[in-house]
């Protein structure tokens, strides 16, 4: 009972729920995601999440940026000059030059740096309008074959899409640090902010190792995915999973989802997609396994996910121990000072 770290079989029971339903979660299979963003919209419609800014971010088709108080689902788009095993080279044999990906990244970066929170908020501040003035260029040169840097400079290409969401960790950093009990573990094993309790202290924002939860502007309270706590109460699946056209987002009992994910991973490995991997599936990881886990086709950080997160609570005993030592030293110093000074 009362584990702070490591695998935990009965997460709801550990949180004091007796006779609770099985733990539920999401398995997001990004290999079948078509980037339609239905999850983002369905979530917002159900939960009345506000619109989060109308900026063109230049990050492929991602104009959401990342998860936050006003986006509980976020579809990441990654363009890469490589291909997945079962796919053919997209641009083989074409008169292509070097990839433009570094160039686009270079245009996005200053916008992030200009943003107040370094771009960890949703969207970014748009840079002031500008750019080159209209100009008469005359006739463009007709490139002949070989005029470019050389044919087939870029041949392989793939476009990864992945719908990110709160991980509903087994050991949730946000939940652990919440001083009001607004964040709590439900009987379904999910992690939910109770809006009637949250006083907006903001501790959870820094407690989350995934950068998920955030405080909503003009409201002041923390917000994140609830895994549609109210819908679960009626046996409905969360809005995003229900809408997902290709079943990339699958909802269900966590144990069953883990088995399903293992099968899917094996299937992809059989197809030669060796880079497929599960993320957040492992109960032995730094957060005791995620309630919402993923099948990814590249390293997690490529999708904006931390490669090896851990819940800060893991170190709580040692931190308090160090604090105790420091406190003792502090008291000792004070006592010593007056003992040395004597009575007057």
């Amino acid at each position: 009972m009362n584990r702070l770290y490591g695998p935990l079989d009965d997460v709801a029971g550990d949180a004091g729920h007796v006779e609770h339903p099985p733990r539920v979660g999401f398995f997001t299979d990004t290999s079948v995601c078509i980037g339609c963003k239905a999850c983002e919209v369905a979530c917002k419609e159900w939960n009345a999440v506000p619109e989060d800014g109308l900026d063109l971010l230049g990050m492929s088709f991602d104009n959401t940026g990342m998860l936050g108080a006003d986006s509980w689902r976020h579809v990441a788009f990654v363009e890469q000059p490589r291909r997945t095993a079962h796919q053919d080279p997209a641009f083989a044999g074409l008169p292509t030059g070097p990839s433009g990906i570094p160039e686009t990244a270079g245009a996005v970066e200053p916008r992030l740096e200009a943003a107040p929170r370094g771009g960890s908020e949703l969207g970014t501040n748009p840079l002031p309008p500008g750019g080159p003035e209209p100009q008469e260029l005359g006739m463009p040169g007709f490139s002949r074959p070989g005029d470019l840097t050389g044919p087939e400079s870029r041949t392989d290409f793939r476009w990864l899409m992945a719908s990110d969401v709160c991980k509903h960790c087994t050991h949730a950093g946000c939940l652990d640090v919440c001083p009001t009990g607004a964040l709590f573990r439900t009987e379904f094993g999910t992690v939910v902010v109770q809006q009637d309790l949250c006083n907006g202290c903001g501790y959870c924002v820094s407690g989350c190792p995934y950068g998920v939860i955030d405080r909503r502007q003009h409201d002041g309270r923390a917000n994140k995915c609830t895994l549609c706590y109210d819908r679960l109460g009626d046996g409905l699946e969360p809005a995003c999973a229900k809408a997902c056209p290709t079943d990339s987002i699958q909802f269900g009992e966590l144990d069953e989802l883990r088995e399903r994910a293992d099968r899917r991973l094996a299937q992809l490995h059989d197809l030669g997609v060796s880079e497929a991997r599960l993320y957040g599936r492992d109960p032995d990881d730094g957060v005791g396994g995620d309630g919402a886990f993923f099948l990814l086709l590249d390293e997690p950080e490529v999708y904006g996910l931390p490669p090896d997160p851990h819940v800060p609570t893991r170190d709580a005993p040692s931190m308090w121990k160090r604090a105790g030592q420091a406190a003792a030293a502090f008291l000792l110093a004070g006592a010593a000072a007056f003992l040395a000074g004597g009575r007057r």
Binding site: R117, E121, G211, S318, F330
Partner: protein
């Protein structure tokens, strides 16, 4: 250090930058001041140093009130401050801190109020009772003060913020040092030189401890040490160290001779302590804005785990 090779999502941060503003840094400082001052006040009370006692008790309450003000006004819903008392969560340093502050506040507050009871009320029985309780309550505040001085370090470290989480072993020492330096410095600033001897010792030990602990902390940090050394934060922390060192020197060399020197040393220590808090705070914020501080150490960990042994 060479630019770390790592991959990210368009250079976007992995973590959320803390939503906390400068007020939280101020809260850290004021809380430390309150803790340090309450220890000095109790010591002064017990050792018969009324001026030091009086100013330190008031300084302690002032620090506490300012600290609470900064904390509450940084909430998204300040009116719901009292929700902090719904639960007592050992896993939440802020919850633990709230209860420590409550215990501390009762003592420190009562002791301070006892100092400022108007003359014409002193004869009344509540005032007499308060006068009698001031000492035990002041001592109780001093007894909880180490908690107040140190819990804020855990509060910062108990996050996913690399700049705070990775200094978890040293930060309590930096913060208690800083608290002692500011509490002692405050006593030096407000009390006559004659009474302020223990305050000087306390401040000197604190300042020395703070400098040493901070040096150790910086030295031990890996990649994320950058945020402590570079840019705006680096300047803040250099200034902090310089002020603390100057205050320490002043404390040791002139404060026992000159009221003005004592005051200047006290101010330097207070300022050094404040800048220390702002520096650490800002370092953490900076460490969330660049994904490398999250990705690189974690990637190294993963690679080390999966590397063929």
């Amino acid at each position: 250090m060479p630019e770390a090779e790592f991959r990210s999502y368009y250079g976007r941060p992995v973590l959320k930058a803390p939503v906390w503003e400068w007020k939280i840094a101020a809260y850290l400082f004021c809380g430390g001041l309150a803790a340090g001052a309450s220890v000095v006040a109790a010591g002064a009370d017990l050792t018969g140093r009324p001026a030091l006692r009086r100013s330190s008790r008031l300084g302690s309450l002032g620090g506490l009130l300012a600290s609470l003000y900064f904390l509450v006004s940084d909430l998204g819903r300040p009116a719901r401050f009292h929700h902090m008392l719904r639960v007592l969560k050992p896993t939440s340093p802020m919850s633990v801190g709230t209860w420590i502050l409550s215990a501390f506040g009762a003592g420190a507050g009562a002791a301070a109020v006892a100092e400022v009871v108007p003359r014409r009320w002193r004869g009344t029985w509540p005032a007499r009772l308060l006068g009698r309780l001031a000492r035990p309550l002041g001592v109780s505040a001093a007894a909880t003060a180490p908690g107040v001085a140190s819990y804020t370090a855990v509060l910062l470290s108990h996050t996913a913020v690399p700049g705070w989480n990775e200094v978890r072993d040293e930060l309590p020492f930096v913060f208690v040092g800083s608290a002692a330096a500011s509490g002692g410095g405050f006593g030096m600033l407000c009390a006559p030189v004659a009474e302020a001897g223990p305050a000087r010792v306390f401040a000197a030990v604190g300042a020395a401890g703070e400098i040493v602990a901070a040096r150790v902390m910086e030295h031990r940090l890996g990649l994320v040490g950058e945020v402590y050394r570079e840019g705006h934060v680096g300047r803040l922390r250099k200034a902090s160290e310089a002020l603390t060192a100057a205050g320490l020197a002043g404390t040791l060399l002139v404060a026992h001779r000159s009221r003005a020197g004592a005051a200047a040393s006290g101010i330097a220590l207070l300022a050094g302590s404040a800048l220390q808090r702002f520096g650490v705070f800002e370092a953490g914020v900076a460490s969330t804005k660049d994904p490398k501080y999250v990705v690189v150490p974690q990637r190294e960990r993963v690679d080390a785990r999966t590397a063929p042994s």
